[in-house]
Amino acid sequence: MVEFEGIILHIGSFLVIAGIYAIINVGLNVHYGHTGLFNIGIAAFFALGAYTASILVMPPPNPDLYQRYEWGGNLAFTLGSERIGFDLWFPLVLIAAAAVCAAVAYLVGSVTIRLRGDYLAITTLGLGETIRLVFTNEGWLADGTRGLNGIPRVMDGLVDPHWYDFVFLPLVLIVLVIVYFVSQRLAASPWGRVILAIRENEDTVEMVGKNAFQFKLQAFAYGAALMGIGGALYAFAKHSITPAAFEPFFATFIIWAMLILGGSGNHRGAILGAFVLWAVISSSQFLPGFLGDPNLRLAVIGLLIVVVLLVRPAGLIPETRTRT
């Protein structure tokens, strides 16, 4: 019975994290799969979304306990559930995280997005590291390496904290569905057509009178906003965050692996890739003996991608262009 409960709990936490990765991966698919922007600094927006959300809802720190840490917005308490029976702050915080990420992407993009291919990749990688180092070193902002703990949770106290994932899961899935439909509609619109055309041939896009730079900037900001929403959900799911959570491996490279595995260029593939790869990673701990070694996961992921790409070169769900 205990074992059965353990499995159920594991599935709950698996679905929550996979759903969050799926949201971020739709953002990466907007960047790379559709626009062709080589962003390897996903961690920047992942972290920014998570910290924005946490700082907004954390209570102000007690000056007796902290030497440097000074911030905290208390939004969750101000707009708490007791007022209207639902945690009104929750959607507001997601929107704020998206807005901060979109704004940062817009500013950074306006100086870097003209760079082609690998140059843009290096600047985004740098941005990811910079954001992480800012949260590591600026203790007043979010308590440095110790990070933020006890982040207030949406609809807390509804069930035993032990089962909280099952309260949060429907919310993650609702956000994922909204993100999916909005992104799908954009991809199928004339806006999405320009975006795809930029990926195919930027000169052609310019020569038919479209300002490719402006469209790339919009796509960059939109994808970053989705990553920020994923980051915010991640902070609530984990209940605490530290800068170490946003190191490139788990916050950037895994997400790239998910996109390649699922099929770059279509949102369904991006979502499936997130669930499949996270299933593999999160269940590898149950493998017997040395197979359960966390260090072996890297090799397992690599092997999985190689095998899938050998069998299905365009990923699990290849990009299709049935509608125009």
């Binding site: 195919e200 310019e206 020569m207 479209k210 990009e319 262009r321």
Partner: protein
């Protein structure tokens, strides 16, 4: 002579030590077809790149409709009414033929994210008109049966036709065609030449056409400009150019030899 629609004054463009376009000047009258010919490496495509600001002009000036055209981004050149095709086709490979054309028209409301999300009805109605226009162009180019094909799967000749289609979708004032006939079935090309003349006469569209098929160019052009080694070496009516000594030496002579 009426007002020229395009004026190139002392245009220079060098790649390292190579002066690909070396002090070129010429004018193009509105509502005419101008052939631009010359041997390989003469600087014809570079001239198109200068006019469309895809390559910066190092000195000289270019005017279109009386306004400076150099020093603005390519998309602004296009918005002023200049369309062009590429010598190496610039098709959008993983998009359908119809999408390649539907991309083009200006003023698409659905290009704003907000409108696409919140006013899909308006966007859809406009989209239907754009697709009808695209289908009309496909009919003209005899590509109707390939409407849903990915552009990457087209033959070289079909890609060339798609280039012309893209230029036609833009409702341009001036069209620059870079070797439109290469790889295209000659009978179809004669039809397209008729269409080009028709568009000149009915809509007053101005054409500048780079083409190695000299008989075709001589037949369809009102004027012919000849370039060699970056310089304009002749500029006149097809008859004048045909009998020009320098042209025979530099170009036609070279071909015959």
């Amino acid at each position: 002579m009426t007002e020229p629609i395009l004026q190139v004054e002392d245009a220079v463009c060098a790649f390292g030590g190579l002066r690909a376009v070396d002090n070129c000047s010429f004018e193009v009258e509105a509502g005419t077809i101008t052939g631009l010919i010359g041997p390989n490496g003469a600087g014809k495509s570079t001239m198109f790149n200068l006019i469309t600001d895809m390559v910066p002009l190092q000195s000289g000036r270019i005017f279109f409709d009386g306004r400076r055209l150099d020093g603005i981004p390519p998309h602004s050149v296009a918005r002023r009414g200049v369309a062009r095709t590429f010598q190496i086709p610039g098709e959008l490979g993983r998009m359908t033929v119809l999408e390649n054309l539907a991309l083009v028209p200006e003023g698409q409301l659905g290009e704003a994210m907000f409108t696409s999300l919140f006013a899909p009805g308006i966007v859809r109605r406009q989209e239907e008109r754009i697709r009808d226009q695209a289908r009309e162009v496909l009919g003209l180019l005899q590509l109707t049966h390939l409407e849903e094909e990915l552009a990457a799967n087209l033959s070289t000749g079909q890609k060339k036709l798609l280039e012309i289609g893209r230029a036609l979708m833009a409702s341009p004032k001036l069209v620059l065609l870079d070797e439109p006939a290469a790889g295209v079935n000659p009978t179809l090309m004669r039809n397209i030449a008729q269409t080009i003349k028709g568009l000149r006469d009915e809509r007053g569209i101005t054409w500048v056409i780079v083409e190695h098929d000299v008989p075709l160019i001589m037949e369809m052009s009102d004027r012919v400009i000849v370039m060699a080694e970056g310089k304009v070496i002749a500029n006149g009516t097809p008859e004048e150019v045909r009998s020009d000594r320098r042209v025979l030496d530099a170009y036609l002579g070279g071909v015959a030899a």
